[in-house]
Protein backbone atom coordinates (compact mmCIF):
# COMPACT_ATOMS: atom_id res chain seq x y z
CA UNK A 1 0.00 0.00 0.00
CA UNK A 2 1.34 3.41 -0.93
CA UNK A 3 1.15 6.41 1.29
CA UNK A 4 1.74 9.85 -0.09
CA UNK A 5 2.72 12.86 1.94
CA UNK A 6 1.83 16.17 0.38
CA UNK A 7 3.52 19.40 1.22
CA UNK A 8 2.51 22.56 -0.50
CA UNK A 9 4.15 25.83 0.05
CA UNK A 10 4.04 29.13 -1.64
CA UNK A 11 6.95 31.35 -2.57
CA UNK A 12 6.38 34.92 -3.32
CA UNK A 13 9.10 37.48 -3.16
CA UNK A 14 10.96 36.29 -0.08
CA UNK A 15 8.10 34.82 1.80
CA UNK A 16 8.01 31.10 2.38
CA UNK A 17 4.84 29.49 3.37
CA UNK A 18 4.48 25.99 4.72
CA UNK A 19 0.96 24.88 4.62
CA UNK A 20 -0.84 22.19 6.51
CA UNK A 21 0.59 18.79 5.85
CA UNK A 22 -1.52 15.74 5.78
CA UNK A 23 -0.17 12.25 5.26
CA UNK A 24 -1.98 9.04 4.61
CA UNK A 25 -0.64 7.34 7.67
CA UNK A 26 -0.57 10.02 10.27
CA UNK A 27 -1.90 13.48 10.26
CA UNK A 28 0.87 15.96 10.74
CA UNK A 29 0.13 19.58 10.22
CA UNK A 30 2.42 22.52 10.41
CA UNK A 31 1.60 25.99 9.32
CA UNK A 32 3.09 29.44 9.57
CA UNK A 33 1.37 32.77 9.25
CA UNK A 34 0.87 33.92 5.72
CA UNK A 35 1.22 37.37 4.38
CA UNK A 36 1.13 36.78 0.65
CA UNK A 37 -0.58 39.11 -1.76
CA UNK A 38 -1.09 38.80 -5.50
CA UNK A 39 -2.85 41.07 -7.95
CA UNK A 40 -5.68 39.95 -10.26
CA UNK A 41 -4.13 38.50 -13.42
CA UNK A 42 -0.86 37.65 -11.68
CA UNK A 43 0.67 34.24 -11.11
CA UNK A 44 0.41 32.52 -7.75
CA UNK A 45 3.41 30.17 -7.54
CA UNK A 46 2.66 27.08 -5.51
CA UNK A 47 5.52 24.82 -4.53
CA UNK A 48 4.40 21.22 -4.35
CA UNK A 49 6.37 18.48 -2.65
CA UNK A 50 5.09 14.91 -2.90
CA UNK A 51 6.71 12.15 -0.84
CA UNK A 52 5.91 8.51 -1.35
CA UNK A 53 6.47 6.38 1.72
CA UNK A 54 5.24 3.28 -0.05
CA UNK A 55 8.58 1.56 -0.53
CA UNK A 56 9.71 3.12 -3.80
CA UNK A 57 6.79 1.84 -5.86
CA UNK A 58 5.72 4.33 -8.56
CA UNK A 59 2.31 5.80 -7.92
CA UNK A 60 0.23 7.98 -10.24
CA UNK A 61 -1.24 10.82 -8.24
CA UNK A 62 -4.04 13.11 -9.33
CA UNK A 63 -3.50 16.55 -7.88
CA UNK A 64 -6.32 19.06 -7.79
CA UNK A 65 -5.89 22.77 -7.20
CA UNK A 66 -8.78 24.94 -6.19
CA UNK A 67 -8.66 28.66 -5.51
CA UNK A 68 -11.74 29.75 -3.63
CA UNK A 69 -12.88 33.04 -2.24
CA UNK A 70 -13.89 33.60 1.37
CA UNK A 71 -17.48 33.05 0.42
CA UNK A 72 -16.60 29.69 -1.19
CA UNK A 73 -16.77 30.86 -4.79
CA UNK A 74 -14.23 28.80 -6.75
CA UNK A 75 -12.38 31.01 -9.20
CA UNK A 76 -9.75 28.46 -10.32
CA UNK A 77 -10.09 24.70 -10.57
CA UNK A 78 -7.25 22.67 -12.07
CA UNK A 79 -6.03 19.09 -11.89
CA UNK A 80 -3.12 17.09 -13.22
CA UNK A 81 -1.61 13.66 -12.84
CA UNK A 82 1.91 13.28 -11.51
CA UNK A 83 3.98 10.12 -11.07
CA UNK A 84 5.75 9.75 -7.75
CA UNK A 85 8.35 7.10 -6.87
CA UNK A 86 9.99 8.55 -3.79
CA UNK A 87 9.62 12.33 -3.99
CA UNK A 88 8.53 14.85 -6.58
CA UNK A 89 8.97 18.58 -6.16
CA UNK A 90 7.73 21.19 -8.55
CA UNK A 91 6.31 24.67 -8.77
CA UNK A 92 2.77 25.00 -10.02
CA UNK A 93 2.00 28.44 -11.37
CA UNK A 94 -1.65 29.29 -11.03
CA UNK A 95 -2.92 32.40 -12.72
CA UNK A 96 -5.41 34.40 -10.70
CA UNK A 97 -8.18 35.58 -13.06
CA UNK A 98 -8.07 39.28 -13.95
CA UNK A 99 -11.69 39.61 -12.99
CA UNK A 100 -11.07 38.41 -9.42
CA UNK A 101 -12.33 40.75 -6.80
CA UNK A 102 -10.13 41.78 -3.91
CA UNK A 103 -10.19 39.77 -0.71
CA UNK A 104 -8.84 36.74 1.08
CA UNK A 105 -8.70 33.51 -0.92
CA UNK A 106 -7.81 29.96 -0.09
CA UNK A 107 -5.63 27.75 -2.28
CA UNK A 108 -6.63 24.15 -1.69
CA UNK A 109 -4.61 21.23 -3.02
CA UNK A 110 -5.57 17.61 -2.73
CA UNK A 111 -4.14 14.33 -4.04
CA UNK A 112 -5.94 11.18 -5.04
CA UNK A 113 -4.19 7.90 -5.81
CA UNK A 114 -4.83 4.19 -5.97
CA UNK A 115 -5.14 2.52 -2.65
CA UNK A 116 -5.56 5.76 -0.81
CA UNK A 117 -6.56 5.25 2.80
CA UNK A 118 -7.08 8.78 4.00
CA UNK A 119 -7.42 12.00 2.02
CA UNK A 120 -4.24 14.04 1.56
CA UNK A 121 -4.95 17.67 1.16
CA UNK A 122 -3.61 21.01 2.14
CA UNK A 123 -4.63 24.63 1.95
CA UNK A 124 -3.33 28.10 2.60
CA UNK A 125 -4.72 31.58 2.47
CA UNK A 126 -3.52 34.53 0.46
CA UNK A 127 -4.75 37.98 -0.42
CA UNK A 128 -5.79 39.32 -3.81
CA UNK A 129 -5.29 43.04 -4.08
CA UNK A 130 -5.26 45.39 -7.07
CA UNK A 131 -2.14 47.34 -8.02
CA UNK A 132 -1.75 51.04 -8.75
CA UNK A 133 1.29 51.97 -10.83
CA UNK A 134 2.72 48.52 -10.20
CA UNK A 135 2.36 48.77 -6.41
CA UNK A 136 -0.25 47.01 -4.33
CA UNK A 137 -3.06 49.38 -3.49
CA UNK A 138 -2.47 49.38 0.25
CA UNK A 139 1.26 49.91 -0.18
CA UNK A 140 0.57 52.61 -2.74
CA UNK A 141 -1.72 54.46 -0.31
CA UNK A 142 0.90 54.01 2.41
CA UNK A 143 3.73 55.39 0.21
CA UNK A 144 1.51 58.10 -1.25
CA UNK A 145 0.37 59.14 2.22
CA UNK A 146 3.98 59.12 3.39
CA UNK A 147 5.06 61.28 0.46
CA UNK A 148 2.21 63.72 1.10
CA UNK A 149 3.07 63.95 4.81
CA UNK A 150 6.76 64.40 3.93
CA UNK A 151 5.84 67.06 1.36
CA UNK A 152 3.71 68.90 3.91
CA UNK A 153 6.55 68.77 6.45
CA UNK A 154 9.06 70.07 3.88
CA UNK A 155 6.62 72.83 2.95
CA UNK A 156 6.10 73.83 6.60
CA UNK A 157 9.85 73.81 7.34
CA UNK A 158 10.55 75.80 4.15
CA UNK A 159 7.89 78.34 5.11
CA UNK A 160 9.30 78.68 8.62
CA UNK A 161 12.87 79.11 7.34
CA UNK A 162 11.74 81.48 4.63
CA UNK A 163 9.80 83.69 7.04
CA UNK A 164 12.76 83.65 9.43
CA UNK A 165 15.08 84.64 6.58
CA UNK A 166 12.67 87.37 5.50
CA UNK A 167 12.61 88.72 9.04
CA UNK A 168 16.42 88.74 9.07
CA UNK A 169 16.54 90.35 5.65
CA UNK A 170 14.18 93.10 6.64
CA UNK A 171 16.24 93.69 9.77
CA UNK A 172 19.64 93.46 8.15
CA UNK A 173 19.01 94.41 4.54
CA UNK A 174 21.14 97.28 3.31
CA UNK A 175 19.70 100.71 3.98
CA UNK A 176 19.22 102.94 0.98
CA UNK A 177 21.25 106.15 1.01
CA UNK A 178 20.29 107.46 -2.41
CA UNK A 179 19.24 110.70 -0.72
CA UNK A 180 22.88 111.34 0.28
CA UNK A 181 25.15 113.17 -2.11
CA UNK A 182 26.98 110.66 -4.32
CA UNK A 183 30.47 111.68 -3.15
CA UNK A 184 29.55 111.02 0.50
CA UNK A 185 27.23 108.08 -0.13
CA UNK A 186 30.00 105.46 -0.10
CA UNK A 187 30.93 106.44 3.48
CA UNK A 188 27.35 106.25 4.68
CA UNK A 189 26.90 102.89 3.00
CA UNK A 190 30.12 101.47 4.40
CA UNK A 191 29.41 102.63 7.95
CA UNK A 192 25.81 101.46 7.70
CA UNK A 193 26.73 98.03 6.31
CA UNK A 194 29.41 97.58 8.96
CA UNK A 195 26.84 98.35 11.68
CA UNK A 196 24.35 95.95 10.09
CA UNK A 197 26.95 93.21 9.79
CA UNK A 198 27.86 93.60 13.42
CA UNK A 199 24.24 93.78 14.50
CA UNK A 200 23.81 90.42 12.86
CA UNK A 201 26.62 89.05 15.03
CA UNK A 202 26.21 90.80 18.39
CA UNK A 203 22.64 92.08 18.21
CA UNK A 204 21.65 95.57 19.29
CA UNK A 205 24.94 95.98 21.20
CA UNK A 206 26.28 96.95 17.76
CA UNK A 207 24.05 100.05 17.89
CA UNK A 208 25.39 100.99 21.34
CA UNK A 209 28.98 100.77 20.09
CA UNK A 210 28.18 102.80 16.99
CA UNK A 211 26.34 105.44 19.04
CA UNK A 212 29.39 105.92 21.24
CA UNK A 213 31.61 106.91 18.32
CA UNK A 214 32.27 110.59 18.05
CA UNK A 215 31.01 112.16 14.85
CA UNK A 216 28.66 109.29 14.05
CA UNK A 217 24.95 109.85 14.44
CA UNK A 218 22.61 106.89 13.94
CA UNK A 219 18.97 106.01 14.41
CA UNK A 220 18.92 103.79 17.51
CA UNK A 221 15.95 101.81 16.22
CA UNK A 222 16.99 101.04 12.67
CA UNK A 223 20.74 101.60 12.70
CA UNK A 224 20.39 104.07 9.84
CA UNK A 225 23.30 106.50 9.62
CA UNK A 226 21.94 110.01 10.06
CA UNK A 227 25.11 112.03 9.91
CA UNK A 228 28.87 111.66 9.63
CA UNK A 229 30.43 114.78 11.08
CA UNK A 230 34.07 113.61 11.20
CA UNK A 231 36.45 112.14 8.66
CA UNK A 232 34.56 109.02 7.54
CA UNK A 233 37.65 106.81 7.38
CA UNK A 234 38.40 107.73 10.99
CA UNK A 235 34.84 106.86 12.02
CA UNK A 236 34.98 103.55 10.18
CA UNK A 237 38.38 102.69 11.68
CA UNK A 238 37.04 103.44 15.18
CA UNK A 239 33.87 101.51 14.49
CA UNK A 240 35.84 98.47 13.34
CA UNK A 241 38.11 98.77 16.37
CA UNK A 242 35.10 99.01 18.68
CA UNK A 243 33.52 95.91 17.18
CA UNK A 244 36.76 93.97 17.26
CA UNK A 245 37.14 94.72 20.96
CA UNK A 246 33.55 93.72 21.58
CA UNK A 247 33.59 90.59 19.46
CA UNK A 248 37.16 89.56 20.15
CA UNK A 249 37.85 88.96 16.48
CA UNK A 250 38.73 90.92 13.37
CA UNK A 251 36.01 92.30 11.15
CA UNK A 252 35.44 91.62 7.46
CA UNK A 253 33.25 93.92 5.43
CA UNK A 254 31.75 94.34 2.01
CA UNK A 255 31.63 97.32 -0.30
CA UNK A 256 28.51 97.98 -2.29
CA UNK A 257 28.82 98.17 -6.04
CA UNK A 258 29.02 101.78 -7.19
CA UNK A 259 25.80 103.03 -8.80
CA UNK A 260 26.14 103.33 -12.56
Amino acid sequence: MSSIKLTVSLFLISLIFTSKTVSAQAIQSTSTSLDVTVAPGEILPVSVKLSNFGGGKRVDVLISYIIASDSGNEIVKLSETVAVETTNNFIKNIQIPKSSSEGVYTAKTSVVYDGQVTPANTEFSFKVEKKIFGIFKNQFYLYFGGIIIFGILVFIVTQILSSKQNRNLSRFSPIDYSNIDSKDRVFYELVSDTIMGMRHKVGDRALDIASAIEGLSINRETGRVIKLSRTPSKIIAELVLGYEKSLGQKISFAFREPRR
Partner: protein, 126 residues
Amino acid sequence: MNKTILVIEDEKASRDLLVRVFQKENFTVLQAENGKTGMKTALDMHPDLILLDLLMPIMGGIEALKEIRKTKWGKTIPVIILTNLSATDEKLVESMISERPAYYLIKSDWKIFDVVKKIKEVLRIN
Protein backbone atom coordinates in the same frame (compact mmCIF):
# COMPACT_ATOMS: atom_id res chain seq x y z
CA MET B 1 32.94 80.69 -19.70
CA ASN B 2 36.17 79.91 -17.87
CA LYS B 3 37.08 82.80 -15.57
CA THR B 4 40.59 83.72 -14.56
CA ILE B 5 41.55 84.59 -11.01
CA LEU B 6 44.84 86.18 -10.04
CA VAL B 7 45.97 85.22 -6.54
CA ILE B 8 48.45 87.72 -5.09
CA GLU B 9 49.67 86.21 -1.85
CA ASP B 10 53.16 86.00 -0.41
CA GLU B 11 52.62 82.99 1.86
CA LYS B 12 53.34 79.99 -0.34
CA ALA B 13 51.23 77.52 1.64
CA SER B 14 48.16 79.79 1.53
CA ARG B 15 48.74 80.59 -2.14
CA ASP B 16 49.09 76.92 -3.09
CA LEU B 17 45.90 76.06 -1.22
CA LEU B 18 43.93 78.84 -2.87
CA VAL B 19 45.28 77.92 -6.32
CA ARG B 20 44.41 74.26 -5.83
CA VAL B 21 40.87 74.98 -4.64
CA PHE B 22 40.17 77.49 -7.41
CA GLN B 23 41.48 75.10 -10.05
CA LYS B 24 39.16 72.45 -8.67
CA GLU B 25 36.35 74.95 -9.12
CA ASN B 26 37.34 75.19 -12.80
CA PHE B 27 38.87 78.64 -12.62
CA THR B 28 42.03 79.44 -14.52
CA VAL B 29 44.43 80.60 -11.85
CA LEU B 30 47.35 82.98 -12.10
CA GLN B 31 49.54 83.59 -9.09
CA ALA B 32 52.03 86.11 -7.82
CA GLU B 33 54.08 86.24 -4.63
CA ASN B 34 54.14 89.99 -4.07
CA GLY B 35 52.39 93.19 -5.09
CA LYS B 36 54.88 94.08 -7.79
CA THR B 37 54.70 90.83 -9.77
CA GLY B 38 50.99 90.70 -9.03
CA MET B 39 50.44 94.14 -10.51
CA LYS B 40 52.50 93.23 -13.60
CA THR B 41 50.64 89.93 -14.06
CA ALA B 42 47.31 91.69 -13.66
CA LEU B 43 48.11 94.34 -16.25
CA ASP B 44 49.57 91.79 -18.68
CA MET B 45 46.99 89.03 -18.32
CA HIS B 46 43.80 90.95 -17.44
CA PRO B 47 42.24 88.36 -15.12
CA ASP B 48 38.53 88.48 -14.28
CA LEU B 49 39.13 88.92 -10.55
CA ILE B 50 42.04 89.60 -8.22
CA LEU B 51 42.35 88.04 -4.79
CA LEU B 52 44.75 90.28 -2.95
CA ASP B 53 46.71 90.01 0.25
CA LEU B 54 47.76 93.33 1.84
CA LEU B 55 50.97 92.73 3.78
CA MET B 56 53.56 91.51 1.30
CA PRO B 57 57.27 92.11 0.66
CA ILE B 58 58.58 94.33 -2.16
CA MET B 59 55.20 95.90 -2.80
CA GLY B 60 52.13 95.68 -0.58
CA GLY B 61 48.60 94.96 -1.73
CA ILE B 62 47.35 98.55 -1.39
CA GLU B 63 50.16 99.97 -3.53
CA ALA B 64 49.61 97.28 -6.15
CA LEU B 65 45.88 97.98 -6.18
CA LYS B 66 46.44 101.72 -6.54
CA GLU B 67 48.67 101.08 -9.57
CA ILE B 68 46.14 98.70 -11.10
CA ARG B 69 43.29 101.19 -10.57
CA LYS B 70 45.25 103.86 -12.43
CA THR B 71 44.80 101.93 -15.70
CA LYS B 72 41.61 101.95 -17.75
CA TRP B 73 41.19 98.18 -17.42
CA GLY B 74 42.03 98.23 -13.73
CA LYS B 75 39.37 100.79 -12.79
CA THR B 76 36.59 98.22 -12.80
CA ILE B 77 38.35 94.93 -12.15
CA PRO B 78 36.77 93.28 -9.11
CA VAL B 79 39.20 92.83 -6.23
CA ILE B 80 38.71 90.84 -3.06
CA ILE B 81 41.07 91.63 -0.23
CA LEU B 82 41.99 88.56 1.81
CA THR B 83 44.19 89.58 4.66
CA ASN B 84 45.01 89.25 8.32
CA LEU B 85 45.32 93.00 8.66
CA SER B 86 42.52 94.56 10.63
CA ALA B 87 40.92 97.68 9.14
CA THR B 88 41.39 99.75 12.27
CA ASP B 89 43.84 102.16 10.70
CA GLU B 90 42.39 105.34 9.29
CA LYS B 91 44.76 105.44 6.32
CA LEU B 92 44.02 101.84 5.42
CA VAL B 93 40.29 102.51 5.54
CA GLU B 94 40.82 105.60 3.41
CA SER B 95 42.66 103.51 0.84
CA MET B 96 39.95 100.89 0.90
CA ILE B 97 37.30 103.51 0.28
CA SER B 98 39.22 105.04 -2.61
CA GLU B 99 40.25 101.76 -4.25
CA ARG B 100 36.90 100.03 -3.70
CA PRO B 101 37.51 96.30 -3.35
CA ALA B 102 34.35 94.20 -3.51
CA TYR B 103 35.13 92.62 -0.16
CA TYR B 104 37.57 93.08 2.67
CA LEU B 105 37.84 89.61 4.16
CA ILE B 106 39.80 88.66 7.24
CA LYS B 107 41.57 85.35 6.54
CA SER B 108 40.91 83.81 9.93
CA ASP B 109 37.23 84.66 9.65
CA TRP B 110 36.65 82.94 6.32
CA LYS B 111 36.66 79.31 5.24
CA ILE B 112 38.13 78.82 1.82
CA PHE B 113 34.86 77.55 0.34
CA ASP B 114 33.09 80.67 1.57
CA VAL B 115 35.75 82.71 -0.21
CA VAL B 116 34.94 80.70 -3.36
CA LYS B 117 31.28 81.61 -2.85
CA LYS B 118 32.15 85.29 -2.60
CA ILE B 119 34.24 85.03 -5.76
CA LYS B 120 31.38 83.38 -7.61
CA GLU B 121 29.00 86.03 -6.30
CA VAL B 122 31.26 88.82 -7.53
CA LEU B 123 31.77 87.11 -10.89
CA ARG B 124 28.05 86.35 -11.05
CA ILE B 125 28.59 82.62 -11.42
CA ASN B 126 25.77 80.39 -10.21
